[in-house]
């Protein structure tokens, strides 16, 4: 997925007017702690100051530039919530005068043994901030397509990258990328050692923008709807296969855009199945999945065969380093399997 984001940003520099890709260690030589920004034209290293990063992105957007700002880990974005709120209300407060076309991208979630400060989720907090659009891909192709749309937006977009999926290779290729993984790596991954003379060889990429606000129907099913995004998405997909072998037929939606989300797709599916599980890994109190569950409950109550359920992270102050602690804190494969099975078979 890191390569997909890099290719999307290259496309966006070439075709969509992106002028500044910046943040801590985003520029050469490193190109980002996850290599998402290696070899790009408009990258630069910022001071270690998240408030300055968000503020500068806002200023750039005001002045007609098109910034993509990175916060190195979403764990370090929490001193900028006031600025994110401000970016989200600037158009509204000025009664329509000042829109801010800017993208903020940041890695989120657990799965890399990141301990307390490299495992945070940001979907709950972000979904409570009006005026933004928020996306969170679970495949490289979606990451590519959503980034193109993000870079075309007239409004601020928060691009959440599931850390655990940073290195996954997608089933579907990005249009233009060479089929051979090694060839791609040779073309666009910076070499070890001296990089001062290296330049990326970009493949001929094409526009494969994915509109914001459209969920992806990952699997059709009839007995249970599961809505997820990000790191837990592959777990849900796998669980659906496991359950299918048990004769339980789950429908799976990848939300992809968290706001504005694809309410129609959820309604259609839940009307069909009467059961729905929302899965994410943010802590579960005042969680975005709870919003979705609440809305489904309010609007589709008399279609429901069982209570809408939310499977999310435990409400603990952090994710501990030891595997045992992480496994107990955020949904794992077994938790997803069990939650889907329980809901599919729940009877009054």
């Amino acid at each position: 997925m890191a390569q997909a984001i890099r290719m999307a940003l290259h496309y966006a520099e070439e075709h969509l007017g992106v002028t500044d890709i910046f943040g801590e260690d985003v520029g050469p030589p490193l190109g980002g702690v996850f290599t998402c920004t290696q070899g790009l034209e408009t990258t630069w290293n910022s001071p270690l100051d998240e408030r300055g990063i968000i503020g500068t992105a806002m200023g750039l957007a005001m002045a007609g530039a098109r910034p993509v700002a990175e916060i190195q880990f979403c764990d370090y974005i929490y001193n900028t919530i006031d600025l994110l709120k401000l970016a989200g209300n600037t158009l509204w407060s000025s009664n329509g005068q000042w829109n801010l076309p800017m993208v903020v991208m940041t890695p989120v979630g657990s799965g890399i043994r990141g301990s307390i400060y490299h495992s945070h989720s940001f979907d709950a907090t972000m979904s409570h901030i009006p005026g933004w659009k928020t996306v969170m891909p679970s495949t490289p192709l979606d990451a590519y397509g959503l980034m193109l749309s993000a870079c075309r937006e007239q409004n601020p977009v928060m691009f959440l990258i599931p850390k655990a999926l940073m290195r996954v290779k997608g089933d579907e290729p990005i249009p233009g990328e060479p089929a051979d993984e090694k060839q791609l790596s040779k073309m666009i991954d910076a070499p070890l050692g001296d990089r001062s003379k290296w330049k990326a060889q970009w493949p001929e990429l094409s526009d494969a923008a994915i509109p914001l606000g459209k969920a992806k129907l990952v699997r059709q099913g009839s007995q249970l709807t599961v809505v997820s995004y990000g790191r837990t998405m592959p777990l849900v997909k796998k669980a659906a296969e496991t359950l299918a072998a048990e004769g339980l037929d789950a429908e799976v939606l990848d939300l992809r855009t968290l706001w504005p989300y694809d309410w129609d797709a959820i309604v259609e599916s839940v009307k069909k199945t009467g059961r729905v599980l929302f899965v994410n890994e943010d802590t579960e109190v005042t969680n975005f999945g709870e919003h979705l569950a609440r809305r489904v409950t309010e609007k589709l109550f008399y279609h429901l065969l069982a209570p809408p359920k939310v499977l999310a992270g435990k409400f603990v102050p952090g994710i501990g380093l030891a595997d045992t602690l992480e496994a107990a804190s955020v949904p794992q494969q077994g938790d997803v399997d069990a939650a889907m099975r329980a809901l599919a078979t729940m009877q009054p």
Binding site: G59, L60, A63
Partner: protein
């Protein structure tokens, strides 16, 4: 072995240098424009206060007492839209600057009355919270000091464009305790990437009820620029002539050198912090307008009588504008959905 950091000389109490004998180094026409705009600004703020006190507005905040600094500032701004023009990241005491730039006072009155016609926020935001994209005036927002975190963004676009446009940020003395003030110093002075930012601080020695000297140990706020290697100075914001000349020097430096300049201006706060603290005239502080009128009279540039007439004229004019605004409608409740997203019709996302 160790190198001690620079020791700063103690600074004596700052006193406005207005004397009877001084020369007026600006041409009379400019002086008269300056004065008239200061009068206009004062009358406008006093009208807004009167509106508040008579129940035609819920909250007042503004800049009476800062006209001697804010008017020259407005006169020096290159106004227009986009990075080829100056960007203004202001706080809530900048009405005089807008008037000096040529803004019509009706907008401020409408915002005070929170009518739908308020050109800055459509009745959404407090008085003094200007926003005018046509002139690159970024929306004034209430949180103290966030504008200092944004100013380097517009300046970066301007630096890249070439030309002579700059970004200007204003804020108060108390606000410099926020980290965002330091952010503006750090980001504007990256080696080889210095930015054309004019960093202004109006030091009125107060943050609401808290005296500056009680909570901050920095004698001259401009000194905070020293470590960053940037030009910096403290000026008298109560003298419009000196303020004009000092600002002019700073503007020219930033326009041509494309590097930051930090200017602290010592100013008065003539009606207290805001309506929350009563909005009554304070006699203990220097009134820059009265002092300037004294001086103009002495130098035969404008008589006291003439000044008085101007004041009367604008007082009446603005009372009339206020009467006009009072007849205008409030925004409709349904409009809360407008302008959540650019380019999209407003609607409740959770409505069925």
């Amino acid at each position: 072995m160790a190198r001690d950091a620079k020791k700063l000389k103690p600074v004596k109490e700052f006193k406005p240098l207005i004397t009877k004998s001084d020369e007026l180094p600006l041409d009379p026409e400019r002086l008269r424009f300056m004065h008239e705009t200061m009068v206009k600004a004062r009358c406008l703020e006093e009208r807004l206060i009167a509106m508040y006190k008579s129940g035609h507005g819920y909250f007042w905040i503004g800049g009476p007492g800062e006209e001697a600094f804010n008017v020259p500032l407005g006169m020096l701004i290159k106004k227009g839209q986009g990075p080829a023009f100056d960007f203004c990241h202001f706080h809530y005491r900048q009405s005089a600057t807008l008037l000096a730039m040529g803004e019509h006072p009706l907008g401020a009155i409408r915002q005070m009355k929170n009518t739908a016609t308020d050109p800055y926020s459509g009745g959404r935001n407090f008085a003094g919270h200007f926003s005018k994209r046509e002139w690159n005036i970024a929306p004034v927002s209430s949180p103290i000091e966030v504008q200092y975190a944004m100013v380097c963004g517009t300046a970066l676009a301007q630096k890249r464009l070439g030309g002579d446009s700059i970004s200007i940020v204003t804020g108060g003395d108390a606000g410099t305790a926020e980290g965002d003030f330091a952010t503006s110093l750090v980001w504007s002075s990256r080696p080889g990437e210095e930015l054309p930012v004019l960093i202004l601080v109006t030091n009125n020695k107060w943050g609401i009820s808290t005296p500056y000297g009680q909570v901050q140990g920095v004698e001259r706020i401009s000194d905070r620029g020293a470590a960053f290697g940037m030009r910096a100075k403290t000026i008298d914001g109560n003298d419009p002539i000196s303020a004009y000349l000092e600002l002019k020097e700073a503007f020219e430096y930033v326009r041509t050198e494309r590097k930051p300049y930090l200017v602290e201006a010592r100013v008065s706060r003539l009606y207290g912090h805001s309506s929350a603290s009563g909005a009554n005239f304070v006699t203990a502080e220097a009134d820059c307008l009265a002092l300037f009128e004294e001086r103009l009279d002495q130098h035969g540039v404008r008589s006291k009588d003439e000044a008085k007439r101007l004041r009367q004229k604008y007082t009446e004019e603005f009372a009339e504008l206020a009467r006009q605004a009072k007849e205008e409608p409030f925004p409709d409740g349904g409009t809360i959905w407008n302008h959540v997203y650019a380019g999209e019709p407003g609607k409740d996302p959770l409505a069925d």
